[in-house]
Amino acid sequence: MSTTLARPPQRKREVIEKAVIRFCGDSGDGMQITGSQFTNTVALYGNDLATLPDFPAEIRAPAGTLPGVSGFQVHFSSSDVFTPGDVVDVLVAMNPAALKMNIADLKTNGILVVNLDDFGEQDLRKAQMTVNPLEDHSLDGYRLFAVELTKLTRAALKDLGLDAKSMDRSKNFFALGMCYWLYNRSMDTSLRFIEDKFKNKPALVQANRLAMQAGYSYCEATEAFQISYEIPPAKLKPGTYRNISGNAALAMGFVAASQKAGIPLFLGSYPITPASDILHELSAYKDFGVITFQAEDEIAAITSAIGAAYGGALGLTTTSGPGMALKTEALGLAVAVELPLVICDIQRGGPSTGLPTKTEQADLLQALFGRNSEAPIPVLAPATPGDCFWIAMEASRIAIKYMVPVIILSDGYLANGAEPWPVPNIEDLPEIPVHFETNPVDFRPYRRNPETLARPWAVPGTAGLEHRIGGLEKQDVTGNVNYEPLNHERMIRLRAEKVAAVVQDIPDVVPAGDPSGDLLIVSWGSTHGPVTAALNAQRGKGHTIGHVHLRYLNPLPKNLGEVLGRYDKVLVPEMNMGQLVMVLRAKYLVDARGYNKIQGKPFKVSELERKIEEMLVDASS
């Protein structure tokens, strides 16, 4: 920095508990990178956090237009964080379109940083704005910082000999540098990232580093911000932590399952948003012997995994709703031939192609019932991004122990969202015993383990075990093709009993909050965060409220009916039209009420709180 600059006056630094920042801009503005960089930095500092990446399905909609807006929100705190935050404290908007699409979420008096250079007449027109919001006082309720991000970035990079377009690509790092100053964070983590990411392009290392430092210095040198903030580390449980997204956690969970089971992992997959990252992650883990097969379609993806499972591998397929629909027939085959298989459905908005990049949890009934005839399958759902790791291991364990396909229902929010995750010790991971049948004496392919009802896993290549399996109905014990009426009923019931038997192997539910009383909230999947936050906010207000979060959706935990009966009212918030609530009402004859949001976005804590209050008011009247 130039020594001639006057030392900036001592400015105020305030210690606060938490903040929510949203970076938004054009799809080409690098908002996802900016957001994840900020996230990594605050994670390494020790804050608890939750993130919400929100991007369009189009790779690059026309620059500057409303459909092209991409955003990344991070909520970080010195106390427990359960959601990415309902309202935003700091909004960084790189263009008018981003401002227009996001300003509604900025809280009153919140900090608004915009790129002044992108508010020309043409830019406004692209965002379908007729007046400049920077001039019409519509932003008076916010602390507005209109910064010449483009010009300042170009000035910082002027000696690198880059063209204007290349220089402008670094302006997101200028904005990132500003935010680091605002929250008193070191730039070291991002500097390391830049050096690693662009190690083969030294010019870009220079450009991004200079831009970020320029953004930081800009805040330091100018008097734009009169205040900066300090958010101390959170009091997390002791241990080693890393930041993890749901899809990355699933991928690592399956590697761990494969290692604990001592059998290779085979992933058959066809690219689909928002599941593709699991394929990307696993395809890099060749050192763990992971086989990834990018199939010609969703059907080949699952059937190849069935083929690999038949050969003794841990078979896995990953997809989202439309792909799940295509896999339906093959799921029935896996049920009939009773081979272990794990299917991950990373749910997104539907029906049909729907909202590819937005979240929803409307595939529950499909997972439970969406097959021809009676084809029961255990269904599990992770509660948080980090829980995806444990669910992957648990699904693999159940699949192998019971010789059954298992469905995991994750969703777009868990898949792309991230949180600090306590890294487990290898010795604390569950064991996954595998037994391949080898004894040819009196071998019968459908003779069952009396406890689990699992049939033997008899893989090709084992002498004396030659046998045939297939989708035609089988005779009990021998596995030969059989069309007899009573045998068919017996086999249908056996397959159902086998899945029901999994209940012995899963924990009872223990409600959070009050163990009985006025209201029980039942949730599953990614609503865990907002429901937990709403419960915490609503307790101690004179009502007794409990919360049960289901990680096992089939079979349901064996004490669930009893727990439901302990409360006067039951509320089931879901990002669908009421699917779990339908199951609970049918199974337990309980007057559970649904609360449904189908907007491609997670629940806000405030929305849930209002609903809880509404139910409790009704209870008191």
């Binding site: 997390l236 050192d287 083929g307 090709p460 399996i469």
Partner: protein, 342 residues
């Protein structure tokens, strides 16, 4: 070693105790018999064989071969088999399929298996009809064919399975006929010897719904006139008196009468190892032209292309050789981590 003292396998070892449920007189019996005859010759332990099928009459095949067998779902046998073969390259995996199973509902898997060159042996039972659903036209039925679902004749132009396979970059493409037992067994041995994807079309009669589908080729008198048997390194000669041949005229094949100055040396000499698909493609299309015989035998056998499963597993070995085997504890702690102290 105990295995050294085991008696050699026989055809009987590959027969199951299951009652065969094909119609009496079905061409599938002949194919089953030929397969059961050549399997013991291959020197492969019985438990290493896996027969995988889709849906249809032909796909009941695994139930009748006493090896590991998997009767999967309609059209998907190549995909199931691909997964198995990648996970278990040590296995000898055969696929039994039909014209509906492989070329209609399973067309996509068929072409992708072939282009990848997965080490699978595919037997396409082509009877030009849907048998198990009782007599609808198939993607190989001749245009205009009257069937249960096309009382006024089909509007569909048929697939030529071998053209399709060659177009999909298949490395081994062959054809035989259910009733030509010696030729069928011979061709099956060549299928077994090929390392990559081997696609064998077997012209097969459905005596219930499409009887005489291949009569023009299989009738005693027709056989030599209508069929040219391909043999590597030998000229393309056919005819009862072996007096007709096929030669190249510009970019076209031409049927010629031997004699009158035309000798064997003018004829095309069959080269199944030609790496370019052009010649095999011309052969595959020959029968669709008037006056041309139907070729049987190996149209194309190109052994230079690596097998898919070897490439996939080779990558894993390479990475493990370079980086060592994966360490789970390290993986979980990869990237940036931080300690929270008590």
């Amino acid at each position: 070693m105990a295995t050294a003292t085991l008696p050699p396998l026989t055809k009987k070892d590959f027969q199951t105790d299951q009652e065969i449920r094909w119609c009496p007189g079905c061409g599938d019996y002949a194919i089953l018999s030929a397969v059961q005859a050549i399997f013991p010759e291959l020197g492969i332990p019985k438990e290493k064989f896996v027969v995988i099928s889709g849906i249809g009459c032909s796909s009941r095949f695994p139930y009748y071969v006493n090896t590991f067998g998997f009767h999967t779902i309609h059209g998907r046998a190549p995909a199931v088999a691909t997964g198995l073969k990648i996970a278990r390259p040590d296995l000898e995996v055969w696929v039994a399929t039909g014209d509906g199973d492989s070329l209609s509902i399973g067309g996509n898997h068929t072409i992708h298996m072939l282009r990848r060159n997965v080490g699978l042996k595919v037997l396409l039972f082509n009877n030009r009809i849907y048998g198990l659903t009782k007599g609808q036209f198939s993607p190989t039925s001749e245009i205009g064919k009257k069937t249960k679902s096309t009382p006024f004749g089909t509007a569909d132009r048929p697939f030529n399975p071998l053209s399709l396979a060659i177009g999909a970059e298949a490395t081994f493409v062959a054809r035989s006929v259910d009733v030509f037992q010696t030729h069928l067994k011979d061709t099956l041995r060549k299928v077994a010897a090929h390392k990559g994807s081997a696609y064998l079309e077997i012209l097969q009669n459905c005596n219930i719904f499409n009887d005489g589908a291949w009569e023009t080729l299989t009738e005693k008198d027709a056989r030599s006139e209508k069929v040219v048997q391909l043999e590597h390194g030998k000229p393309l000669i056919f005819g009862k008196n072996r007096d007709k041949g096929i030669r190249l005229n510009g970019l076209e094949l031409e049927v010629v009468q031997l004699g009158n100055g035309i000798t064997e040396s003018d004829l095309l000499v069959h080269d199944e190892h030609d790496p370019r698909p052009t010649y095999a493609f011309m052969l595959a299309h020959m029968e669709q032209r008037p006056g041309f015989p139907t070729p049987i035998g190996v149209l194309r056998s190109w052994g230079e292309v690596p097998r898919y499963e070897d490439v996939i597993n080779g990558q894993i070995k390479d990475v493990q050789a370079r980086r060592g085997k994966g360490d789970l504890a390290k993986l979980l702690r990869a990237g940036d981590t931080w300690e929270v102290k008590a």
